[in-house]
């Protein structure tokens, strides 16, 4: 590295950015990470939970040291209507096995720890600087521009998040489309850990991840979620923009109503709201991945659209880590070959293709479309489940009816054919 030029400049202190900085600095490269907030994580938000597999590979046993919240050993999925909630509750030791475990996290805390790891590895980190533009000469990205200042590097890595205005400036992608992104709103509600353990049936440091379809997103494409942290609950809603604007309930009202739902209210009762956050989630899957490689530049994490929402599981942070690892490998190879051209950097794409990042995005490429095309998941099915449960459990002295007849009545409301069609399409898109 010459005095005035870095090997790599990374824009954005999220998971992709800090992990890329860590990996490159560890190999002795001169790395500068620039974050617009006052610390890595200060602009970041998750539901949320990180699946550990990809970070575990890079930092073995990270969960013992990192400020994770709880190890998720209980998965719940609910179909919710205004007056009811039908839940599938899965507890398993398998969820906690190292390498396939997952953790609730709070990004303002977690990303700062990753920043420290990158710093310890030798990366230089500047917080509180917004990168306004990129230095581009003859189509080659040569560094970054912040106000009057310019900083140069052999490679610039854009880890500037879902809104990546820098990727837009390069013309790598247009404006985000309303059907490609969902907006999430979340409350962090403080409660004593013993209360959380009692209310959510958690042992010690274990915790629950819980997703809800139905009324949390007012029957629109979206979901409600709860993640248990050490001494707080993350409770929120998320909904796809294109569908959200067809409805008539505002996002903040959705969140408020979800929190006050009779099945939820006792869980957060007495808790103290300590933060209210909002963020966009890239949910378009493979179809929204923009151009991610250029002369002297790579795009990683949310900025590259690397995220999957499967309804029962939401993954973004493990993709951020995975793509950062692929980018770091590509940069190391480019450094070795002294070739940072778009052609050489295609190895980033190859590494992604070989990794779970592209394999999973490709595997599930039809799924985002399926969710969008199947509004019954968010509306008809929660109602059907609620009505069927009511037939089973509500005793009101009316003479009993044959079970089959009773159940079919509710299935017929949705329609047998629709049910079969949705099941078929859903399974095929998975």
């Amino acid at each position: 590295m010459s005095d005035d030029k870095f090997d790599a400049i990374i824009v954005g202190g999220g998971i992709a950015g800090t992990v890329a900085a860590y990996l490159l600095a560890k190999e002795g490269l001169g790395v500068l990470l620039i974050e617009r907030g006052n610390y890595a994580g200060s602009k970041n938000m998750t539901g949320g939970r990180i699946y550990s597999h990809s970070l575990e590979k890079i930092m073995p046993n990270f969960a013992q040291e990192a400020p994770i919240e709880r190890k998720i050993t209980r998965e719940k999925i609910s179909l919710m209507t205004d007056e009811s909630n039908v839940t599938l509750d899965y507890y398993s030791d398998l969820l906690g096995v190292q390498g396939s475990d997952s953790y609730s996290v709070l990004r303002g805390v977690f990303d700062q720890w990753l920043q420290e790891k990158a710093e310890e590895a030798g990366a230089e980190i500047i917080a509180g600087i917004r990168i306004d533009d990129l230095i581009v000469r003859d189509g080659k990205v040569c560094g970054v521009i912040a106000g009057e200042d310019e900083l140069e590097a052999d490679i610039t890595i854009l880890a500037d998040g879902v809104n990546s205005l820098l990727a837009q400036k390069l013309g790598y992608r247009g404006e985000l489309k309303p059907d490609q992104v969902a907006v999430g709103a979340k409350e962090v509600i403080e409660l004593p850990s013993s209360v959380i353990e009692d209310r959510f049936n958690c042992r010690g440091n274990e915790g629950t991840a819980w997703l809800f379809a139905g009324t949390p997103s007012a029957g629109r494409v979206g979901s409600g979620f709860i993640y248990t942290n050490k001494e707080s609950i993350s409770l929120g809603v998320v909904s796809t923009l294109s569908d959200l604007v067809q409805g008539n309930k505002s996002v903040p009202q959705m969140l408020e109503d979800f929190k006050n739902h009779p099945a939820i209210e006792p869980l957060v009762k007495g808790g103290k709201l300590i933060e209210y956050s909002g963020h966009l989630v890239p949910e378009g899957g493979l179809a929204m991945v923009p151009k991610i490689i250029g002369d002297g530049v790579l795009v990683v994490g949310d900025a590259a659209g690397f995220c999957l929402n499967l309804g029962y599981a939401v993954r973004g942070m493990d993709f951020a880590v995975g793509s950062a690892e692929c980018a770091a490998k590509a940069v190391l190879a480019a450094k070795e070959a002294r070739n940072f051209s778009e052609g050489f950097l295609q190895c980033y794409q190859s590494f992604l293709n070989e990794s779970f990042v592209m394999k999973d995005l490709t595997h599930y490429q039809k799924f985002p479309h399926f969710l969008e095309e199947t509004p019954r998941i968010f509306d008809g099915y929660p109602r059907m489940a609620a009505d069927m449960m009511a037939e089973l459990f509500v005793m009101n002295g009316q003479p009993a009816q044959p079970l089959m007849k009773n159940m079919m009545k509710h299935i017929k409301k949705v329609g047998m054919l629709n049910l079969a069609k949705d099941a078929w399409k859903g399974v095929r898109s998975l």
């Binding site: 617009r36 907030g37 006052n38 994580g41 200060s42 602009k43 970041n44 938000m45 998750t46 709070l106 990004r107 303002g108 805390v109 990303d111 917080a127 509180g128 600087i129 917004r130 912040a146 879902v162 809104n163 205005l165 404006e175 985000l176 489309k177 309303p178 992104v181 907006v183 999430g184 709103a185 409350e187 962090v188 707080s232 923009l241 959200l244 604007v245 409805g247 008539n248 309930k249 505002s250 996002v251 903040p252 009202q253 969140l255 408020e256 109503d257 006050n260 709201l273 300590i274 933060e275 209210y276 956050s277 909002g278 963020h279 966009l280």
Partner: protein
């Protein structure tokens, strides 16, 4: 169901408001109300408001910087939407 008071919730957040420079600005003059109503629905911070007299209000101070309004109305009723300059804007302590 009770009506949500988002301002009260935002009051618990840490904000460093850029008093000199608004990072997000509505167009002046006649605003397409259909577009404005979209933002009343989607903005998680509830920053796009309509009062009893039918006047529209928008205050960037409580912005969570999610970019939702840019995606939906960046080309219609927003004059600009960019990130606040370094150090300013919302600061998530928990996130």
């Amino acid at each position: 169901m009770s009506t949500v008071n988002v301002d009260q919730k935002l009051g618990l957040n840490k904000f460093y408001v850029d008093e000199e420079n608004a990072h997000s600005v509505l167009k002046s003059g006649d605003i397409d109300m259909k577009e404005f109503q979209k933002l009343m629905l989607v903005c998680p911070a509830g920053l796009y408001k309509l009062d009893e007299k039918g006047n529209i209000h928008f205050d960037y101070a409580g912005c969570l910087e999610c970019g939702t309004c840019r995606v939906l109305c960046g080309k219609t009723i927003l004059e600009k939407w960019e990130f606040p300059v370094g150090t300013l804007g919302v600061e998530f302590r928990w996130g």
